[in-house]
Symmetry: C2
Subunit: 506 residues, 2 copies
């Protein structure tokens, strides 16, 4: 974990249990609820006025450990306000996990004004028994002028500063990170937020990016925020509830998600999957084995009354969302989160852009990535840009090379050279001692793409540059011109034969 520039307040509420890239399994301690929430976690949004699935059901049927509801709606509600103050949220919702509340910032951004102050809404959240409250930040939309983004951010920062002096008891407090689509503003907003005594860090106002499938921009925003935060900061991707992007967002470093999607989509007859959204009307078969989808057919679901259909769709949407979080946690445990992201990226072309954007930050991810994991799967040209490849290339320039004439070979050795190392795209030269270590135990397709060879050429370059006095040659099976052109001029190349004659690696 990179050291923060200035020593931040120690955050003991968040502990990281396991990591893969910037993704991690963590434990968020929520003192006021007296519970620990395992992350990545989903916070189903509870609309005080409309309960598609009850909080008690979320807990018993889906294992929900945390949920979110809107403190401002309760504050304004003639129906619920007094009851919330008297009974408290945990009692009303019959929910024993953690309850986060929002502040009305969304309503502020939608309607231009709200009738409560920052201190009032924080105290109200405290008084209704919220476990994690939120100050009123300014959710600045994407693509606004820099001036507006800066002005809004000053307001958000001052609200966070002010929130520190509100008496919130043992309620945790969110420190939202704004800055629109300006990465430097997001980074400075995150640094500021991390410097406060607040606890949880939502990356705000990203919903418009997700709604327009701008996953690459979303990743740039998240990574900018992450650069301003310490590794011990729990990060919430605010408003992100579609399971198709959970794996990508976790790999970028997000820990918390909240989903109104499960209910909103259900209301509209829409069915979530890890690769997109289907409309119930378009489904002839359910691509799912959840208790809803194994019990009913699409045809039957279309025939039932609207309220029942909505509830069943919402339950499916929740099942698939929680399933995806389990899938992500299992991938982190096995060290193959990038492989999962590769699969999910093929759900939509915009997700491919998101994955590519994530790999643009491979050097940052590399710093947090475990040194040894499961088996590295080469699955597409993007795999050539993974942090593990980058790290290996860095390592190559520090390796000691024996002898004066060294051959990197894809096919046996050659007595003209004193030393022969294996040449393994996308990594490059492999000294015998490292052959059995991660990631060089990689599984690769028999047919590799050009990017794999080009990355291997980069590996060769790194070692050649670091050892100017040694003579190097490579022996290759029909490498593409683009890879050969990327080799340093001093490297001799010996063609073993066309790529199609390459013997099986096994």
């Amino acid at each position: 974990m990179p050291p923060a520039a200035v020593a931040p307040p120690m955050r003991e509420i968040f502990e990281i249990r396991d990591a893969d890239g910037a993704g991690r399994i963590g434990e968020l301690t929520v003192p006021r609820a007296d519970v620990t929430v395992e992350t990545p976690a989903l916070l189903p949004v509870i609309n005080p006025h409309l309960r598609t699935v009850s909080p008690a059901t979320l807990e018993s049927e889906f294992g929900a450990q945390i949920l979110i509801t809107n403190g401002y709606i309760l504050y304004q509600s003639e129906e619920f306000r007094e009851e919330a103050l008297e009974r408290g949220l945990a009692d009303i919702y019959e929910f024993s996990g953690a309850i986060m509340t929002d502040s009305g910032s969304f309503q502020l951004s939608e309607y231009g004004e709200i009738s409560v102050t920052n201190a009032e809404i924080l105290e109200f959240q405290r008084d209704i028994g919220s476990h994690i409250g939120t100050p009123i930040d300014i959710p600045t939309p994407p693509d606004v002028s820099r001036e507006q983004a800066e002005d809004d951010l000053e307001t958000t920062k001052s609200r966070l500063d002010a929130a520190q002096s509100v008496d919130v008891g043992d309620m945790l407090v969110n420190a939202p990170i704004q800055g629109s689509t300006y990465p430097d503003l997001r980074e400075s907003a995150a640094e500021h937020a991390y410097g406060t005594s607040l606890d949880v860090f939502p990356v705000g106002a990203v919903v418009p990016l997700m709604n327009s499938y701008r996953y690459a921009d979303m990743i740039d925003v998240v990574r900018a925020a992450k650069r301003g935060l310490g590794a011990d900061a729990p990060v919430h991707l605010f408003g992100a509830g579609h399971p198709m992007m959970f794996a990508l967002a976790v790999a970028a470093g997000c820990d918390l998600f909240d989903s109104a999607a499960y209910a909103l989509y259900a209301r509209d007859g829409r069915y979530l999957t890890v690769s997109g959204t289907d409309h119930l009307d378009d489904l002839d078969y359910f691509p799912c084995s959840c208790p809803v989808c194994t019990k009913y057919t699409p045809e039957f679901l279309r025939s039932v009354a609207e309220a029942e259909r909505e509830e069943l769709l919402a339950r499916h949407n929740l099942y698939v969302s929680y399933q995806e979080l389990r899938t992500i946690k299992q991938a982190i445990r096995e060290g193959n989160l990038f492989e999962l992201v590769e699969r999910r990226a093929r759900g939509h072309p915009a997700m491919v852009d998101g994955y590519r954007a994530l790999l643009d930050h491979a050097a940052e991810l590399e710093r947090e990535d475990p040194v040894s994991k499961g088996t590295f799967f080469y699955l597409s040209s993007q795999s050539a840009r993974r942090p593990e490849v980058l790290r290996y290339h860095d390592r190559l320039s520090r390796l000691s090379v024996p002898g004066d004439r060294v051959l990197f070979s894809e096919g046996g050795d050659n007595r003209r050279f004193e030393e022969t190392w294996r040449l393994l795209p996308p990594f490059g030269p492999v000294p015998p001692a490292l052959s059995d270590s991660y990631p060089l135990t990689t599984e690769r397709p028999e047919r590799l793409d050009r990017e794999a060879y080009e990355a291997a050429a980069e590996g060769v370059s790194r070692i050649v540059e670091a050892n100017p006095d040694i003579e190097f040659a490579i022996a290759h099976w029909g490498w593409p011109d683009s890879a050969l052109a990327a080799l340093p001029n001093a490297v001799e190349t010996l063609a073993l034969g066309p790529e199609s004659d390459h013997p099986d690696d096994s």
Copy 2:
């Protein structure tokens, strides 16, 4: 559908309802069972001696319409033989769907001999009430000598010929296709089988290929067999039971799968997913929402008695297998089976090879592919090789081009040219009239790979070659050198700017 060279016997038992590439949804009528089986279908293997999940449960809980059991084991069994002859399989198994039986060919290949003749085992299968029986073919393993493959195939062919004259009543009969890893032998075996009066066409002896992850070779074998069969032939990928390759195999033209895997893997503590196999011991979370995985945790499953664990794992394995078949059928209905195969290919590098091998046969797939489908998603460099791209390139050479000077442009028009068409990688030039038609309504990542531009250059080449008297130019945003080099010399190129300045397509 391509006409067969010689008019084959009309097969009225198999009707194709919907298709995508070579994948299809079909209805297999099984007269003796008086049922229709929707394909792609999974036939769970019922071991007469060991029942992990009962046939009645397969029917009621998983919706199984067909299963398979081993006729030779029953024939040899002192315990079951008489009962099978007296009661019949449907009664014994309490199963109202279709029941297929195998003949002992597998035992023959494992142990070198079996004590029954071809006619005897077919009659026995008839007598125990099998709905689809199998003659004794010779399952020739991969990579044997050509001589052995040819000799074995002669025997298999003679067994199929002989099977035609056995009195099987209204039992359907399998006509297995052998030929080892020789595509021409597989094709001629398929032509021969299709010329018999037999009914269902298993591609045999592919299990060793799948066990060693040789998915590319598996695809070449399947495509060779498909070339020898008419479109009305139901094709069974014999012994294929892992859901990770169902989508790929369906896209290659397979209709039936049989799975002993669900039970065998469960016995060994293994847990199937659409991207591979996990061992229960390695799971901290279940990446699934099936009734087993939502009710229990991996930890709990490890704690229960062996028989119960085995049954629960088998049920999960069945849930995920049937789910994948529903997912595939839904993808065929929506016309995005290739997108599904792209996702599944990222489960393992060997699956990427399998997908690439499938695209080597894109010209064949193109002939069966519907002209209009959902939205074409460009998801990887493999997408540039899809049948839809190939078809469009063929179409380009037949388009009439107005004017003498035509510009294909990624960014607006130019008055120097009489006509300007949009230039759309990976397809190439798009005449205005076709802009809104499939597949040109494609969704693409903002950042495309070189293969997309190279495919577009191929599209330009096709139209230029077909119109030698017209002057063509392209206006492009920083195309890679490899794509520019692939353009015909006569084409003028106008650079609009570096690719990074490309305005959003939206």
